[in-house]
C-alpha cells in the first residue's frame, strides 16, 4: 500500500522538485521550499507536502508555529526494496507458468507415447 503511495508521490513533477530541494538543503520550512521552486505558490507546495508526508516520503517536525520538512530516511529505501521484492515475486510467477506448461506438455507426450 505504502509502496503504491510512494510511487504516486514520485510521479508528479512538482513533488520531485520539492524532494530535490529538501535533499539538497536538508530540513527546511514550507516557505523555504516554495521560495526555491519557481511558479508554484505556497498553498500548492503545502498540499504537495501533505501528499509526500502521507506516503511516508517526508517527515514533518513542528516547532511553535513553524513546520519543518525533511526526507524520511526510511521512506525511499522501503519503496525501492518493496519494488525489488515485487520483481522477485512476479519473476517466480513467470517461472511457475513456464515450468507448469513444460511439465504438463511432458505428461501429455508421455501419455501419447503410452
Amino acid at each position: 500500500m505504502r509502496t503504491h503511495l510512494a510511487f504516486d508521490a514520485l510521479a508528479d513533477g512538482v513533488r520531485r522538485s520539492i524532494l530535490l530541494v529538501i535533499a539538497e538543503k536538508g530540513e527546511c520550512s514550507a516557505g523555504e521550499i516554495a521560495d526555491s521552486i519557481e511558479r508554484v505558490g505556497r498553498t500548492t507546495v503545502s498540499s504537495h507536502l501533505r501528499v509526500l508526508r502521507t506516503s511516508g516520503v517526508v517527515t514533518e517536525r513542528r516547532e511553535g508555529r513553524h513546520r519543518y520538512y525533511s526526507l524520511d530516511p526510511e521512506g525511499p529505501t522501503r519503496e525501492a526494496l518493496e519494488f525489488l521484492q515485487g520483481l522477485l515475486k512476479s519473476s517466480l510467477r513467470e517461472l511457475k507458468s513456464n515450468a507448469e506448461a513444460l511439465a504438463s506438455s511432458g505428461t501429455e507426450s508421455r501419455r501419447e507415447a503410452g
Binding site: 520531485r16 539538497e24 522477485l88 517466480l92 513467470e94 517461472l95 511457475k96 515450468a99 507448469e100
Partner: protein, 477 residues
C-alpha cells in the same frame, strides 16, 4: 558493509529437476529474471534482466554461478549493478510439485543505486572532512559489461591510499555514480559528484559520456580524467585523456594479424558515436600503410542487439578481416552472432574493446581466436601484476569479475592522482594538475609516463582470446 535480504517463494506444479533444468535454457523469460547463461557450471557468466517499470529500459544484472547442487540449489554471485548473492532453492513439495525460494542480497551501494534509478534525489553524504574522489562508471546500460570491475578496483586503490595515510592528512572517500551508459545522465551525475565536493572525477565511461561531462562541468576547474581507452582529443589542461589510443592498438595488432592470416580486406564495424568514428579514422590511416584495404564500414546505434544486417553486409563485401570497435553488450551480441552465422570461417577479427569481462560474456566458443591489443591483461607475467591480482582476489573473493585493462586503469588512475596530490607541496588544485602532467609510475600494467594532459605512454600487448582468458602473443618485429 551491510546487506538487506529479500525473500520470495512460490509453489510450482512440476518436479524439482524440471524446474532446475529450465535455468538458462534460453526460452525467453523462463527463469528468475530471464536468467541467461551458456553453460550451467560453477564460474560461468550469468545475465539477469531486471524490468524497471513502464517507460524504463530493463537493467542487465551481471553475475556468475557461485555454486550448484542439482536439482536443489543454484547460487549466483552478482557483480553489477550491485554486489550480493542470489540464492534459489528447490524443495520437493509433493510428488509433482516444488517449492521455489529465492533470496536476494543487496548491499548498501546497491540500495543507493536502486534509489537513484527509482528517481529518488541523491543524498548528500555527511561531510566528515574526508578527501573525496568521484568515480563515474557504467553500472547499467550496454557499458556495464566493460565497466564491471571498475568500482571494486577504485575502492581497492582508495583503501590502499588510506592505508598509506590518506591525502594531505585526510581520509580518502570514494563517491560512485552511474551514467547508465547515457551522456545526459552522466553529465548530471558528474554535477552531483562535484556538488558533493569531489576533488577529481575519474570517468570509466564511453567517450560520449566523457564529452558530455566535459561540457557540463569542465568550467568547474575540477580535474576530469577519462581513465579508459579512448579516441583522444584536446581540451584544457585539467581535462585528462588517458588510456590506450586506437592508432596504437592498430599498430600493435593489425599488421601481425594480416601477416598471420594472409588477409588484407577489412570491414569496419562500430557504434555510432565519437569513439568508433575516431577509431575508424585511425584505421583508415594505419591500415593502408600496412597494405590493408578498407572494403566496407557500418555504424550501429549503441545498444543494438540484432547484427544480422551488418553480418550480411560483411559477407557480401568480400572482407576477410573485421575490425570491431563495438563496445560492451553490443560487442557481445555481435561476436556471438558472427559465430552463429558462420562468419568465423571466412573472416579473422580484431576487436578494440575486447577486455576480459567482455570476452567472458561473449563466451569461450564465440570469443576463441579474436585478437585485441591493450596495455593490461590478467596474464601479464610480472611480480607487480601477480601481487595486484592476489590483493584483488583477497579483497573481493573468487567470484569477483575478472580484472581488465579498463578496471586496472581505473585503479591506476586513483593511484596516479594520489601520487600527484602527494607530490604537490600544498593541497592545491593547480599544483596537483601540474603534477598530473608529468608523472612516471610503476603500475600493474608496467611502467607508464604521463606527458601532458592527453597522453599516457605505456607498452601495448597483443593477445588472442582463448578458453577462459587470453593468450599473450609475441610482439611484432
Amino acid at each position: 558493509m551491510g546487506f538487506v535480504v529479500l525473500l520470495a517463494d512460490e509453489t510450482v506444479a512440476a518436479r524439482p529437476d524440471v524446474v532446475y533444468g529450465l535455468f538458462g535454457a534460453r526460452q525467453g523469460a523462463g527463469w528468475v529474471f530471464a536468467a541467461d547463461c551458456d553453460v550451467l557450471a560453477v564460474g560461468s557468466a550469468v545475465t539477469l534482466h531486471l524490468p524497471m517499470g513502464v517507460g524504463q529500459a530493463a537493467v542487465d544484472v551481471l553475475g556468475r554461478v557461485a555454486s550448484l547442487a542439482p536439482p536443489r540449489q543454484i547460487v549466483i554471485a552478482l557483480d553489477q549493478p550491485w554486489c550480493g548473492r542470489l540464492r534459489v532453492r528447490l524443495d520437493q513439495a509433493g510428488a509433482e510439485s516444488t517449492r521455489v525460494t529465492v533470496s536476494a542480497e543487496i548491499d548498501e551501494r546497491g540500495v543507493e543505486w536502486l534509489l537513484r534509478r527509482r528517481g529518488w534525489p541523491a543524498r548528500q553524504p555527511a561531510d566528515k572532512g574526508e578527501y573525496r574522489i568521484g568515480l563515474l562508471t557504467s553500472k547499467s546500460g550496454p557499458g556495464a559489461v566493460f565497466a564491471v570491475a571498475c568500482e571494486n578496483l577504485a575502492a581497492m586503490a582508495v583503501d590502499e591510499l588510506n592505508a598509506d595515510g590518506g591525502l594531505h592528512g585526510r581520509r580518502v572517500r570514494l563517491l560512485v555514480a552511474d551514467d547508465a551508459t547515457d551522456p545526459a545522465t552522466g553529465a548530471s551525475e558528474a554535477r552531483w559528484l562535484i556538488r558533493a565536493g569531489c576533488r577529481v572525477v575519474l570517468a570509466s565511461v564511453t567517450s560520449a559520456t566523457f564529452s558530455a561531462v566535459e561540457r557540463a562541468v569542465g568550467d568547474s576547474g575540477v580535474p576530469l580524467v577519462h581513465t579508459v581507452l579512448n579516441e583522444g582529443g584536446g581540451g584544457p589542461g585539467h581535462v585528462f585523456r588517458w588510456g590506450e589510443r586506437p592508432a596504437d592498438q592498430l599498430a600493435t595488432a593489425a599488421v601481425p594479424l594480416m601477416r598471420t592470416s594472409g588477409a588484407r580486406h577489412w570491414f569496419l564495424v562500430g557504434d555510432d558515436y565519437s569513439w568508433s568514428h575516431g577509431a575508424h579514422r585511425a584505421a583508415r590511416q594505419v591500415l593502408p600503410q600496412a597494405h590493408g584495404m578498407v572494403v566496407g564500414e557500418r555504424f550501429v546505434p549503441l545498444g543494438t542487439k540484432d547484427f544480422e544486417p551488418v553480418i550480411e553486409a560483411i559477407t557480401w563485401s568480400g572482407a576477410d578481416l573485421v575490425l570491431s570497435t563495438l563496445v560492451g553488450a553490443d560487442e557481445v551480441a555481435f561476436e556471438r552472432q558472427c559465430l552463429a552465422m558462420g562468419l568465423r570461417a571466412r573472416c579473422r577479427t580484431l576487436s578494440l574493446v575486447l577486455d576480459e569481462s567482455t570476452r567472458e560474456r561473449i563466451g569461450d566458443s564465440a570469443a576463441a581466436g579474436l585478437w585485441t591489443a591493450f596495455g593490461y591483461f590478467q596474464q601479464l607475467p610480472t611480480a607487480e601484476n601477480r601481487a595486484f591480482l592476489a590483493r584483488y582476489r583477497d579483497t573481493f573473493g573468487p567470484w569477483a569479475p575478472p580484472v581488465s585493462t579498463l578496471s586496472e586503469s581505473t585503479y591506476s588512475a586513483v593511484h596516479l592522482y594520489g601520487i600527484a596530490a602527494r607530490h604537490a607541496r600544498q593541497d592545491d588544485r593547480g599544483q596537483v594538475v601540474a603534477e598530473l602532467q608529468r608523472l612516471r609510475a610503476i603500475l600493474p600494467r608496467g611502467s607508464v609516463e604521463l606527458t601532458g594532459p592527453h597522453q599516457i605512454r605505456q607498452q601495448l600487448r597483443l593477445a588472442e582470446a582463448a578458453a577462459g582468458g587470453f593468450r599473450l602473443l609475441a610482439p611484432a618485429r
